[in-house]
Every structure is written in structure tokens, then in C-alpha cells.
């Protein structure tokens, strides 16, 4: 019976129910979108790293495992790496940040193509001239670039010579030597990608290299990919914490306002229930159930809206961001929202439960 009353109350004010649910849902969407972007971008980064076709990576001393890195490693290390047993191919990579999370990558085209199994060009082809740039299809779509278009970055214009299928380590690539020159970092690279004769030899090669280059982080590719996790990004974890707190506050405020208004509006109805013998627990139960239902509807709206944010990101900024749908966060975000909603309903519900029956019945 109480559930029927709760359902009818929500149905009686459809606009308020809808707006409250959407507002509660926004908190859920905020959490799911942020976690989804974090997971999605790391997953995308891992997939692209896998697409390079290397078995192991040698990074500059002191560099972060999932960070972009800079042109700080002496290129002479490359000769040492190439001379190791089982190494069939070692190619230097240079990365230069172009602001935010965007970067441009310098490669030795032929070596990189050989290691990664070759680029699949949707349009155009390989790097030929010093001012050539190749970009992946997502970047081309986001920036509305075609072969022959000019791309302005690093204070100069580049001609798009080819658009390749994404999944090859980076979205924007130029010749490594040009990158080094522009960054005033001749002879410096960011990392070395290494291909072995047999992946089974990976650990043995790493062990040998670590003895000779103790200060260099050297990772098997699979080990590196495992590091692409939110847990290894304390800043992202902290940011998720901030957004979760905001979502709780959001749920609290929305439910507080919605239920406070509802309690005022239903003063007379609460009086009727009390006249019929409803105790404080009964009244409290009605409002709590109504809030839980609102939070559930809100969470479902929020989950649905997170698909909307994913579509928006994939449509308008596919190269800058990737949002994954993180199913494991559905119950977490819903429970966090529910907690905020219950905090929000406490004061209005207690006010309703303590309302004097006679005063409530006299309320017009």
C-alpha cells in the first residue's frame, strides 16, 4: 500500500519527478563519465601501445610509467640496445607535448612501420618531406583534416601526407629528426621500442639490459600495458574523489529541495495520514521509499546519460578523449547517489514525521 502511495505521489507530479531524477542522474553521469574517460583513455593508450608491435620498451631514467615523457634520453643508448642478442629491431621514439594531453610523436618511419606491421592508410601515404605529418583517422575527423590539409602545431604548418587507421601508438606523427630539431633536442629521444626474435626471450633480454642500464626503466610490453590503470594515476584518483564528493552534494541538494518542497506541499496529506493513526515511522518510511525510488530512477537516467556523453565524445572529440562504459561503476555510482539522496531527505522526512497532526490538518 505504501509503495502504491509512493508511486502515485511520484506520478502525481511528473515534471518534478522527471526533473529531480534528471538532476540526481547528472551526478551519476558526472561520476560515470569521468571514470569512463579515465578508463577509456588508458585503455586506448594501451591498445595503441600494443599496436606498435614491440616486445619491450626502454624509457628514460626517472620517467613515469604512463606519462608522455620528454626528449631526455641519449640516443646513443640505441646502439647498445640494437647490439643485444635476440633484438631484431629497435626504433627510437620522440614525444613532444603540444599542450594538455596532446602530443606529437617523432618516428623513424620505415623502422616503425616494420615493427608495427605497417600503417593502413585510409587516405594518402607515408612521410616523405620534412614538413609532412601523418595522422590517424580519429584525429582527422575531430580536426576535419584531409590529405593535403595544413595542420598548425609547434608554431609551424605541416602538410598532412597520410591518414592511417588508428591504433599505432600515436595520433600525430612526424619524422623524429625534425621533431628533435624543432625541440632543440638533437640526439635526444623519449624511449626505444624493441622487437625480439621470439617474445619468449623478453624477460631474459630485460634482465640483461637492467644489469647494464640499472637506472633505465625497462618494461615488457604486456607489463607496461598493465600499468595503464587508474590506480597508477594518483591525480586522476584524487579528481575522481572530488567528483564523487560533488555528486553526493548534488544528490543531497536536489533531494533536499525536492523533498522539502514535497513535504510542505503535502502537509495536509501528512496530517490526514496522522489522523488515520500513522506514526512518525510510517511517514518517514513513505518519504524514504520515495527518495530511494527517485534515486533509482535518477541512477538509471544517469547511466543512460553516460551513454549520451560517450556518444558526444566519440562524435565531436574522438581523438582527444575516449570514454569507456565502466559497468563496475554502475552500482558504485548508484550507491553513492543513494547515500547523498538519503542524507538529503533526512531533514524533510524528520520534519514531516514530527509534524503535529492537528496543525497539518489545518494547513491550506
Amino acid at each position: 500500500m505504501v509503495y502504491k502511495l509512493v508511486y502515485e505521489n511520484l506520478k502525481h507530479r511528473p515534471v518534478r519527478t522527471l526533473l529531480s531524477s534528471l538532476a540526481i542522474g547528472l551526478g551519476v553521469t558526472m561520476m560515470l563519465a569521468l571514470v569512463g574517460v579515465g578508463e577509456g583513455m588508458l585503455e586506448d593508450q594501451a591498445n595503441r601501445a600494443r599496436g606498435a608491435g614491440a616486445d619491450l620498451v626502454v624509457r628514460a631514467p626517472g620517467s613515469s610509467v604512463v606519462g608522455m615523457g620528454s626528449l631526455s634520453m641519449n640516443q646513443k643508448i640505441l646502439d647498445y640496445v640494437r647490439a643485444r642478442p635476440h633484438v631484431t629491431l629497435a626504433t627510437p621514439i620522440g614525444i613532444h607535448s603540444t599542450g594538455g594531453v596532446s602530443s606529437i610523436m617523432g618516428i623513424n618511419y620505415d623502422e616503425f612501420a616494420a615493427m608495427s606491421g605497417g600503417f593502413r592508410f585510409r587516405e594518402g601515404g607515408r612521410l616523405t618531406a620534412p614538413d609532412d605529418v601523418i595522422i590517424d583517422d580519429l584525429y582527422a575527423r575531430e580536426k576535419k583534416l584531409k590529405v593535403g590539409s595544413l595542420l598548425h602545431t609547434m608554431n609551424r604548418d605541416w602538410r598532412v601526407s597520410g591518414i592511417f587507421a588508428s591504433g599505432k601508438l600515436a595520433r600525430v606523427m612526424i619524422p623524429l629528426t625534425v621533431l628533435q630539431e624543432l625541440a632543440s633536442a638533437n640526439g635526444k629521444i623519449t624511449m626505444i621500442y624493441v622487437k625480439l626474435d621470439n617474445p619468449a626471450n623478453t624477460q631474459a633480454v630485460i634482465d640483461t639490459m637492467k644489469q647494464d642500464l640499472p637506472e633505465y626503466p625497462i618494461y615488457a610490453m604486456e607489463e607496461l600495458i598493465k600499468q595503464f590503470s587508474v590506480n597508477n594515476l594518483p591525480e586522476l584518483k584524487a579528481f575522481i574523489g572530488v567528483v564523487v564528493s560533488l555528486a553526493v552534494l548534488f544528490g543531497f541538494l536536489v533531494v533536499f529541495l525536492a523533498m522539502y518542497t514535497a513535504v510542505l506541499e503535502r502537509t495536509r496529506e501528512i496530517g490526514i495520514l496522522k489522523a488515520l493513526g500513522a506514526g512518525p515511522g510510517y511517514v518517514l518510511g513513505i518519504l524514504l521509499r520515495e527518495t530511494v525510488l527517485l534515486a533509482i530512477i535518477g541512477s538509471l537516467c544517469g547511466i543512460a546519460m553516460s551513454y549520451g556523453t560517450r556518444w558526444l565524445i566519440a562524435t565531436f572529440i574522438p581523438a582527444s578523449m575516449v570514454q569507456a562504459i565502466v559497468y563496475s561503476w554502475w552500482p558504485i555510482a548508484s550507491l553513492i547517489t543513494l547515500a547523498g539522496a538519503i542524507l538529503g531527505v533526512l531533514y524533510p522526512a524528520l520534519k514531516a514525521a514530527r509534524q503535529d497532526a492537528l496543525d497539518s490538518l489545518s494547513y491550506d
Binding site: L5, N9, E269, G271, L273, A275, L276, G277, A278, L358
Partner: protein, 223 residues
């Protein structure tokens, strides 16, 4: 034994710095199955008596017993239990829940009383008698005032309370509907033996009762 026993009942309100003596030593005995009308002008104290008997407000002093249960010592929880189990209300403004159907308006009173069994034959007969059997799935706004008041009567007696308290039950109705509601109250009283205490300012309405008492300046007088 009387179903309502009131002895020297007093109720004093504080209004600003002034004490308002709404009831000044009321004495009353109502027998089981009696239909009593309490008549009085606005401000005479009859509504205060109604609120005390219904457990909506505590008395200041005196003794009030309903079905042997003393109201004087009841706290808020005790008065809530009294409203749930021993008293049925019919208000001037009907006081139905607008979001629920007629059936659910009646059922919520049962739910609050912790009863979940279906309506028994006797109550189904009352629903027929009240002329609302065909309108149980409608919302209150789809019913006339007279019909809504009849639903309120059904809701008030669904848990078989010791007393039915009616506060100006015809105050919002035209003459035809007033007579119909009063006829039904009298009929229910005779047919089921339901004790009814009706507050009214209208002598014509009071004429439907077995007995009438006058409330004047917080005191009761035989009519």
C-alpha cells in the same frame, strides 16, 4: 458501561500572553451505539472537544475514557495508537488523499492499522449502502462532494473503531447531499451499532441524532 466518559474536562490554550479556556469542565457520557450531536456556535469549544476525543490534542486536565481507555495519560505515541485503533474521523473537508483511488484511500487506513486481509462481507455491504461500490477505482477529484464524504465515512469505519467522530460532516454540502450523508450516518448507526459523535452548528443536522447536547463557552448543556 459508557463508551465515552468525560469528567471535568478542561483545555486551556496559550495564545500570546493570554490563556484561552476552550473547555471549562465538560462532563459527558455516551453509550455504545448512541448517535450524539454536539451543537454549538463557532468558538464554543466543540471542535476542541472533537480534537481531544480523537487524540489529536491532549487535555489540560480532567478525565476522558474511550472504550475504557483513559486518554489523560496518553503520550503522542499512545494518541497515535488511539487514532489507529479506536477512532474513525469524518472531516468537513473530506480529507481524502488526492493521489489515491477511492479503494486505496480506504485501504490505506487498513494498512496503517496493520490489516491486510480483504474487506469482509459486512464492509462490502456498507460500501454498497454508501453508494460508492461502482466508484472504487476513481480518484477523489472525479467524485462529487457528497460522494467524497461518503468515501470518508467508509474509510472512518473500515477498521471498526469504537467511535466515529464527525466534525461538521455536511458543512461543505448542499441540502440534498447533506441529508443523504446524515441519513447514511444514522442508518449505519442503527444497522451496525456504530457509536457516532457528530459536531455541528446546524440544528437541522443535529436532528438526525438520537441525542443532542449544546456546547456554550466551553461548557456542555443538555439541549
Amino acid at each position: 458501561m459508557a463508551i465515552i466518559e468525560i469528567q471535568n474536562l478542561r483545555k486551556t490554550f496559550r495564545s500570546g500572553d493570554v490563556d484561552v479556556h476552550a473547555l471549562r469542565g465538560v462532563n459527558l457520557l455516551v453509550n455504545p451505539g448512541e448517535f450524539l450531536a454536539v451543537v454549538g456556535r463557532s468558538g464554543s469549544g466543540k471542535s476542541t472537544l472533537f480534537h481531544i476525543l480523537g487524540g489529536l490534542t491532549p487535555p489540560t486536565s480532567g478525565t476522558v475514557k474511550i472504550d475504557g481507555q483513559s486518554l489523560t495519560e496518553l503520550d503522542e505515541a499512545g494518541r497515535t495508537r488511539l487514532r489507529r485503533n479506536s477512532v474513525g474521523f469524518v472531516f468537513q473537508k473530506y480529507n481524502l488523499l488526492p493521489t489515491l483511488t477511492i479503494r486505496d484511500n480506504i485501504n490505506i487506513a487498513r494498512d496503517i492499522a496493520g490489516r491486510s486481509e480483504p474487506w469482509d462481507a459486512a464492509f462490502l455491504e456498507v460500501v454498497e449502502l454508501l453508494g460508492i461500490a461502482q466508484k472504487l477505482d476513481r480518484k477523489p477529484r472525479q467524485l462529487s462532494g457528497g460522494e467524497q464524504q461518503r468515501v470518508a465515512i467508509a474509510r472512518a469505519i473500515v477498521n471498526q473503531p469504537a467511535i466515529l467522530l464527525a466534525d461538521e460532516p455536511t458543512g461543505n454540502l448542499d441540502t440534498e447531499n447533506s441529508n443523504m450523508v446524515l441519513d447514511l450516518l444514522r442508518h449505519l448507526n442503527k444497522k451496525t451499532g456504530q457509536t457516532v459523535l457528530m459536531i455541528t452548528h446546524d440544528p437541522e443536522a443535529a436532528a438526525f441524532a438520537d441525542r443532542t447536547v449544546q456546547m456554550r463557552d466551553g461548557e456542555l448543556h443538555s439541549a
